[in-house]
């Protein structure tokens, strides 16, 4: 570890996303995929972001690397990471160095994000060289340790091509590549999608253990409430580019306050419980083009819709460490006015 040029932070860094808006250029003008999002990742915790297709969750994750690709761009807001500053203002070399070294990213379908023409070891060395790691032997040693930690034969994996590894193994290789440069903030985008149940359980356990051992601040992005419930400390629920509810995972699941969260939980196929109580949410998730220009983004599918929902965007209400943005839930509390999107 001493070989690495930048000293790793000893404590887990905190991440503060403030009023983040990301827009995509479309024939209909610039439309917000993420709009006015405030989210704090407490140091040393795992935050789960759950959302359906088009909720903006992957765009939010990419913002942590300032890696939103055109036609998208970060239009407003900041992403402050301890020891790194505001990622949104980073450019060029500084940005490239931060990626991998401070913020590790395990991409969606990490199973398919490896180079099929190079062995894992070669890709590891490429990663090291591009980040000016002087002692590549130490890097390989660290990689082997990490792989062994995740229950794999490091030397064998490094000599393998991606097609020689199973989906669960590739996922662990992705995690290794995200951590080997000692990143302290780790973003995992859909880490268990397309994996079998038992493999998923194993990967989730590994994420939790490695997170604790290395004192990381972790963000897990997924459509699967179950996967997040198993691994995260706090849960943020996204819908139509907004964080509609955020709080400790047991509280959000045990006592959901936003009608979308409640509907989502009711819609999860479960092993126990009354089959007749489970039902799908009516309607379908919005896309960039079908997002309402004003009012609540969820109102069309909401069973507690009121008149005010048509016209006014609900504000984020914060109480006891829980945030909910809904007109229908408790309204007698301190209101934090959302900035209108321009």
């Amino acid at each position: 570890m001493t070989a690495h040029t930048a000293a790793p932070h000893l404590a887990a860094p905190g991440v503060r996303i403030r009023d983040l808006t990301v827009v995509y250029k479309t024939p209909a003008g610039e439309l917000p995929a993420v709009r006015g999002v405030d989210l704090t990742l407490a140091p040393g915790t795992i935050t789960g972001v759950v959302g359906e297709s088009g909720s903006g969750k992957s765009t939010l994750a990419l913002s942590l690397l300032n890696a939103v690709q055109p036609p998208g761009r970060i239009a407003a807001g900041s992403v402050e990471i301890d020891g790194l500053g505001d990622v949104v203002t980073l450019r060029g070399e500084d940005l490239r160095r931060a990626r991998g070294r401070q913020v590790g990213y395990v991409f969606q379908a990490a199973q398919n994000s490896l180079n099929p023409l190079k062995t894992i070891g070669k890709q590891l060395l490429d990663l090291g060289r591009s980040h000016d790691v002087e002692d590549l032997r130490a890097l390989v040693r660290d990689a082997k340790e990490l792989l062994a930690r995740m229950g794999m034969d490091g030397a064998r994996v490094l000599d393998s091509y991606q097609h020689e590894l199973s989906g669960g193994m590739r996922q662990r290789v992705g995690i290794m590549l995200a951590l080997v440069l000692n990143a302290k903030v780790v973003v995992l985008d859909e880490p268990t999608t397309a994996l079998d149940m038992i493999t998923q359980a194993t990967i989730l356990r590994i994420i939790r253990e490695v997170h604790e051992e290395r004192a990381l601040t972790t963000l897990v992005i997924t459509h699967d409430v179950g996967a997040v419930a198993e691994v995260a400390d706090s849960l943020a629920v996204m819908y139509g580019g907004r964080v509609v509810e955020h709080g400790p995972v047991t509280e959000v699941l045990g006592d959901a306050r936003h009608p979308y969260t409640q509907g989502l939980i009711r819609a999860i196929p479960r092993l126990t419980g009354d089959l007749s109580l489970a039902r799908a949410l009516p309607g379908r998730p919005p896309t960039l083009g079908t997002l309402p220009a004003q009012g609540c983004v969820f109102r069309e599918r909401c069973d507690r819709r009121m008149e005010v929902c048509e016209t006014d965007e609900p504000m984020s209400v914060n109480r006891d460490g829980r945030t909910v943005a809904c007109h229908a839930t408790d309204r007698h509390l301190t209101l934090v006015k959302r900035k209108e999107f321009v």
Binding site: I198, L204, I265, G273, R284
Partner: protein, 335 residues
Amino acid sequence: MITGTGITKIFKQRGGVLGAREVPALRGVDFAIAKGGAVSFIGESGSGKTTLGRIIAGLETHDAGEIVIDGVPMSTLSHRARQPYFRRVQLIHQDPYSALNPTRTIHQTLEAPLRLRAKQTGRPRSWVDGRAAELLAMVGIDPGYVLPRYPHQLSGGMRQRVVIARALTMDPEVLVADEAVSMIDVSLRLGILALLKDLRERLDVGVLFITHDIATARYIGDDGELYVLYRGQVVERGATEKIIADPVHPYTQSLLSAIPVLHGLERPGAERVVPREMQREGLPDGGCLFARRCPFSTERCESEMPVLGRDGDTDQEHACFHPRRRSVIPVGVGE
């Protein structure tokens, strides 16, 4: 009624220093799918569940065993003569994004098979358009909106409903749904599952549901039957509700234990089972196929292969020398 006995399939892998290697995908599987019934195959990748589904749909050949459709053994028929039988089994693909031709409107997509159907059943051409609208209404979408549109203009949930409507054009006896909801948004999954259940009741069509997520199997009907497959062998079989509540095979228990617990709503089961090692190639074929990964295996398991049966006073059939009930599934906090 579709039944299979002793269905066996061997995949031959070419190459390698030692020449061809044979990988058994199915090792003598028996099954029966009744008209209007619900059968679920569950298992991890490599369990053979998809291969079996494709064999039942007539898309794959098998190496041994017999498939009987409506009392006619398929082995007695020529390849050509089998086609009308296998047309009664329609496959619903996992990915509604690639299952529809992107250059055809939904009207065109449904028109082609319906014309064929009209010809087969001696109906006039004018029947086709009305039937297309009727089928779309049956799967819960507005024909006026959907018919003139291309697949890319529809959401994933709508596309999957179109795929189901297309499968229904052939008046099938059985729908084979292979991971039919795994690519659908969570808030819409129950809608598709409820549709399959509804079609069973309204059209008396059987549903063969193939999945790795046991929980979804409950929602196609509480009268369903569950087959747990592991490495090409059925290791546990019985009523879906029964097996979920009271699994006896350690592999089934491992699968159920792996389902995430919704902390806050549920507590983990007290006796969750975790396999000793992960699924990999090259696990031994002698003895019980799960022995090497099973936390409860004994010497007997290493050398002798258990067969599916009711040994040990259980309601369901299982293939285990040491069946034992264990509470592995999450318990509701309120219960």
